[in-house]
């Protein structure tokens, strides 16, 4: 109660508040108080039912006051009172402000309402006038329609009769019209006319006149159908005619299935002709074509620079009388594939894509027709493919890959058309498979061609090696050195030419194979050609296999040739060893990099790493070189062995000369040295001065030999020498005779000399010597000493072995009285 009083009394005292937010709040509170909700705003704080909420709608001042009185202390009550007063005051002032603000609006609204009142009065009069006019118009209109009623019904009836008469006339004229159409061969018109009349005639067939017409029509239509069928069967007509024909027949209720079959069989006969034409080409070609293939096969050196350039049979000139594969495929595409496409297209237009109408829709023609078409296309395509594949298989010569690739490309491209026409067909994928198979086959052919090429090159090299040797050998019996000099200069040339030939051949093969992945080739973006073809096919199947083949065949030279040196000339072994070593150092990585770059090989599948190939090549090179050493060592060993075994060393005469065998040994060693020097680097040898031959020899001959031969005169000495040699052996390194050699000249020569001298030693140990036998050995060894030291890495090795030989000979001597060192030297220098 007090509040209300305050509201009214303090109304005017509240000053207008300037703070907008404050105002807004007050505004809303006022609104609330007066029960106004802001429009659109749902009052979310549901009004509390609490009567103590001073802002709630259920506020009960009595309860509130009681509650306050009960709960609060006096101080609090006082505070509360003052606060309340303050609030009331502010509310009053707010209300006052609002009233002032809205006063003007009320005034203008009152003016507007007054004006509207005047206008409405004027409009009311005009409306009354309008309604009177409308009533008059309605009256007139009813009048007019009443007068015209009778005439209208008559006109309608007349027009109905007219149309009926026209229809009847059409019916009666129909047989004549059909006949005329038949005469003019306007089948389409005839059929459409008949269709229009057909139902009517059917309906009124109980009336005799109509019946007559119907029968006439039937006869005529039968005739027409006959003619159409005839035309269809003749097949001479164009596809368009044919399709029209089919359409008409279909409209004449001809069974669709039969028509499909007929259509297809008709087409079949034409394809038959095409295929037979292709097959005929295939049949007469084998005679000439395999002939050409054979020529190419025996000489895969299609490369003009091939060493077997006896090849006059350039594959471009090779007389292949039959058409080449490109022509064949062209013909196949143009004749077979294009007409197949045409047939498919027209067939689809006729039977599948037809607008469905009436009773035809129920027969489900498209499905049936589609099935038939697929079967038809598949069988034909299978035959075509088999022909193409046969043709591709005949393509054995690796001469011109571009032709094959272009042919395959065309083949593949034309099949795409079929895939577009016939989306579900397996034909294109089969075609792709054929292309893939052809590519695989081609890689295999290239590999074997490379292999034969390699063999041929080796044969050429072998001949080149053999030829000058034979002539020179025949010419100069005396000068063994001369023969080798004639033969050897060509070795490095042979090597470079051989490796160049192989590399060029490989490159050209890569280039030809690369055609398969060229951008403009349609099948190059198939997954096979992007991935497997590059990595598995070209890299592994071709390049890696070829390198492996080289290593393999090289190793075979070591094994198959047998231990006697066999058929392989040592120079070839040397050459191959160098070749393999070159492969190991550079060529393999070069080739593989080249391949990877050209084919952008992405290694999805594990591929042979370069290092493994290099290791293989190195192994092959090592094996070859070891074998070379073995063979050459064996040749010299055999000479030495024969010379020791065949001589009667007990009863020999006093030595006057170095035996010819030793000279031969030195000569052969020299020529081997020259030969190896052509292909391999010098290598390191243990340092020795330039006159080491003389110096070490004198040591060897004077001091050591003196000790060695002392035993024959003083009984205590043999122990000493033997001890010395034993101690020497203890501290010297064990000599492995047939040990692997390094890739340099000195090491190779060391190996050969080691083998030879060890053989000499073992042979000497098996013989018994007389005095002069021993002396001869001394002379021979001195001679060898003079010449062999320069070839080996460690001359002490030669010294040691020769010491052993002379020592063993002395042990095996019945009468060990050595020759004077000076005499030996004289003999050796003289010889």
């Amino acid at each position: 109660r007090r509040n209300e009083i305050n509201v009214t009394t303090k109304y005017s005292t509240t000053p207008p508040d300037s703070d907008p937010s404050q105002r807004r709040r007050v505004h809303s509170m006022l609104k609330h108080y007066y029960g106004l909700n802001e429009e659109g705003k749902v009052t979310e704080q549901a009004e509390s039912l609490d009567p103590c909420d001073i802002n709630g709608p259920h506020f009960d001042p009595e309860v509130y006051l009681n509650k306050l009185r009960m709960e609060c202390s006096l101080g609090e009550l006082m505070d509360h009172e003052s606060c309340m007063v303050k609030q009331i005051r502010s509310l009053d002032s707010d209300m006052q402000t609002l009233v002032y603000e809205n006063y003007n609006k009320f005034i203008s609204a009152t003016d507007t309402i007054r004006k509207m009142k005047n206008d409405f009065k004027k409009m009311e009069d005009e409306m009354d006038c309008l309604s009177a006019n409308m009533a008059a118009i309605t009256e007139f209109s009813a009048h007019i329609s009443g007068t015209l009623q009778d005439q209208h019904a008559q006109i309608t009836k007349l027009s109905g009769v007219h149309t009926l008469l026209r229809k009847l006339q059409f019916l009666f004229e129909l047989p004549a019209r059909l006949n005329k159409c038949l005469e003019l061969q306007a089948y389409a018109q005839a059929v459409s006319a008949h269709r229009r009349a057909r139902c009517v005639l059917q309906q009124y067939s109980h009336m005799p006149s109509f019946r007559g017409i119907q029968d006439d029509c039937h006869v005529i239509m039968e005739q027409l159908a006959q003619q159409l069928r005839q035309k269809f069967r003749d097949g001479g007509s164009s596809a368009k005619d044919l399709s029209e024909c089919v359409e008409l027949l279909l409209q004449l209720d001809e069974p669709a299935e039969e028509l499909c079959d007929k259509f297809l069989s008709h087409a079949q006969s034409r394809f038959e002709a095409d295929l037979q034409g292709l097959e005929a080409e295939l049949k007469d070609s084998p005679v000439t074509d395999t002939g050409g293939g054979l020529v190419q096969k025996t000489n895969p050196g299609s490369n003009p620079v091939s060493p077997s350039s006896s090849s006059t049979t350039n594959p471009f000139l090779s007389p292949t009388a039959g058409t080449d594969i490109l022509e064949f495929i062209d013909r196949g595409c143009n004749e077979f594939v294009s007409s197949l496409c045409l047939v498919i297209a027209s067939y689809q237009e006729l039977f599948i894509n037809r607008p469905q109408e009436g009773e035809l829709a129920s027969k489900n023609i498209p499905e049936m027709a589609n099935g038939k078409l697929h079967v038809f296309v598949d069988t034909l395509a299978a035959r075509y493919f088999s022909l193409v594949e046969r043709r591709i298989q005949e393509e054995k010569g690796v001469s011109d890959n571009s032709l094959l690739v272009r042919a395959l490309d065309r083949f593949h491209r034309r099949l795409q058309a079929i895939s577009k026409l016939l989306p579900g067909s397996a034909v294109p994928s089969q075609g792709t498979e054929i292309v893939v198979r052809a590519a695989r086959e081609r890689i295999k052919q290239y590999l074997s061609a490379l292999q034969t090429f390699y063999h041929d090159s080796l044969t050429d090299v072998r001949q080149a090696l053999a030829a000058p040797r034979q002539s020179a050998g025949g010419a100069s019996v005396s000068g063994g050195g001369a023969t080798s000099k004639d033969a050897t200069p060509s070795l490095p040339e042979l090597l470079t030419s051989l490796s160049n030939f192989i590399l060029n051949q490989l490159k050209s093969v890569l280039a030809s194979v690369h055609l398969f992945t060229a951008k403009d080739i349609t099948f190059s973006n198939k997954p096979y050609f992007k991935g497997e073809f590059c990595s598995q096919g070209v890299r592994e199947g071709l390049v890696v296999s070829f390198i492996k083949f080289i290593c393999q065949s090289s190793r075979q030279y070591c094994e198959s040739a047998g231990d006697r040196g066999g058929s392989t000339p040592p120079a070839l072994l040397l050459l191959l060893s160098r070749l393999c070593l070159d492969y190991e150092t550079s060529t393999i990585s070069y080739i593989l990099t080249l391949t990877d770059e050209q084919f952008l090989v992405q290694h999805h599948t594990p591929v042979t790493p370069v290092t493994a190939l290099c290791a293989e090549a190195r192994e092959a090179a090592q094996k070859l070189l070891n074998h070379y050493v073995k063979v050459q060592g064996l040749i010299i060993s055999q000479m030495l062995r024969k010379s020791v075994e065949t001589r009667d060393w007990v009863n020999t005469i006093e030595p006057r000369n170095v035996r010819a065998v030793m000279k031969r040994v030195v000569e052969d060693t020299t020529s081997i040295d020259v030969q190896v020097g052509l292909l391999y680097e010098e290598g390191v040898r243990k340092a020795h001065s330039s006159d080491s031959s003389k110096r070490t020899f004198s040591v060897y001959s004077s001091s050591r030999q003196q000790i060695r031969y002392a035993p024959s005169y003083t009984p205590s000495a043999p122990m000493d020498t033997n001890l010395l040699s034993n101690i020497h052996k203890l501290f010297s390194e064990r000599i492995d005779i047939f040990s692997p050699v390094e890739f340099n000249k000195v090491s190779v020569l060391t190996g050969i000399i080691k083998i030879s001298l060890k053989t000499f030693l073992e042979c000497v140990r098996l013989r018994t010597f007389g005095r002069y036998g021993l002396q001869q050995i001394q002379v021979d060894c001195h001679y060898l000493q003079m010449y062999l030291w320069r070839f080996v890495s460690d001359e002490n090795l030669v010294h040691f072995l020769l010491d052993e030989i002379v020592g063993s000979a002395a042990h095996r001597c019945l009468d060990p009285s050595p020759m004077e060192q000076s005499v030996i030297e004289v003999i050796c220098e003289r010889g």
Partner: protein, 436 residues
Amino acid sequence: MGSKHTNELTYDAQQCSPGSSSQAFSVVNVLCFLVFWLCIINAWAVVLSACFQARALTAQTAETDAIRFLVGTQSLKFDNQIHIIDFDDENNMINKSVLLHDAGEIWHISGSPADKAVLTTCYSKSEFCVCVSCRPASESRVLTCAAVWRMPPEWESGNHESPDDSSNNPQTLELLCHLDNTAHGSVACVLWEPMGDGKRLISLAENHVLLWDLQESSTKAKVSTATLEGKGQLKFTTGKWSPHHNSTQLATANDTAIRGWDLRSMSQIYCIENAHGQLVRDLDFNPNKQYYLASCGDDCKVKFWDVRHINEPVKCLEEHSHWVWSVRYNHSHDQLLLTGSSDSRVILSNMVSISSEPFGHLVDDDDLSDNEESQQEDKGKEPLQDSIIATYEEHEDSVYAVEWSVADPWLFASLSYDGRLVINRVPRALKYRILL
């Protein structure tokens, strides 16, 4: 002092405590010149003599108790000797006795399978007087002969107790008979009938096979001969009497070919041409598999043959780095194979895959006595792989002969040209693997 050592054997044998070191090391005692010790587990070396070379080595075939080897020396200047090497397994001692063989230098030696005192040698005899002034007579020549000898009965008691004593007269071999047939030329080797009664012998002379029957230990009868066909100076280098087929087969080697002979008809039964790339140096029959034969030669290879399929060797080993001079199957365990080569190495290989026991022993034997032969247990073990068991590098010179002991199948000797005989054992681990 020097002279004392000259004619004498100096040897020592030691064994390190097992497991201390498996590495061989050599000690050269420079002061005491000739004492070479090789102190290894399982290896003993003995140097026969400073001035004797040696090529001929054999196990005493009839002696099954003592481990005994016979070595023949080669010397043109001194009297040749036969050294009897006894190895005392329990004390690890080597005893040596010397018998004089004054007929000439010994190229080949073999002991009778029946009488341990009887042996044959092939020796070269020169009809040439060793005299400095003598000019070489045109008719002088060196001829290899063969003879059967008997060891004097006293050698065992006499000599080996004081090895230093041997400078005073070693005993001489007693000649039983000459296997001479000068018409047939030099004898390459003499073979006893394996497991025979010591009466039948074969000698290979030049290109003849001579079969001898000994009668009353002195007389001899040449039963029959087979002559090797072929032009030129073909001659047998070595041969082996097969222990199979009731001792009726013989294999010989000449140049690069191996030939098999039937002794009943004295005709050739097979011929492996080009068995080796170069000379065939030695042969041995597999003691347990009758058709299997091992050969070795100058192409550094050891090849295994099945004489029924002679086109290809069954297996080929290429471990040596020079000519292989000798190959021997172990008498009891034919997977163990010993080869000696002029690269101074002896190689012991384990050729399980082509042995008679490719999967180890299958026989179950309850007798677990220490006797190494019978110690077998059937245990399911995986088959062993062919492998090189060990390479012995104690020799300093070419090894011309290797031989298994007859008495102890795990022991073998090898002889190098400088006169060093090395006795080795099969590694213990392997021995147990084979046995267990």
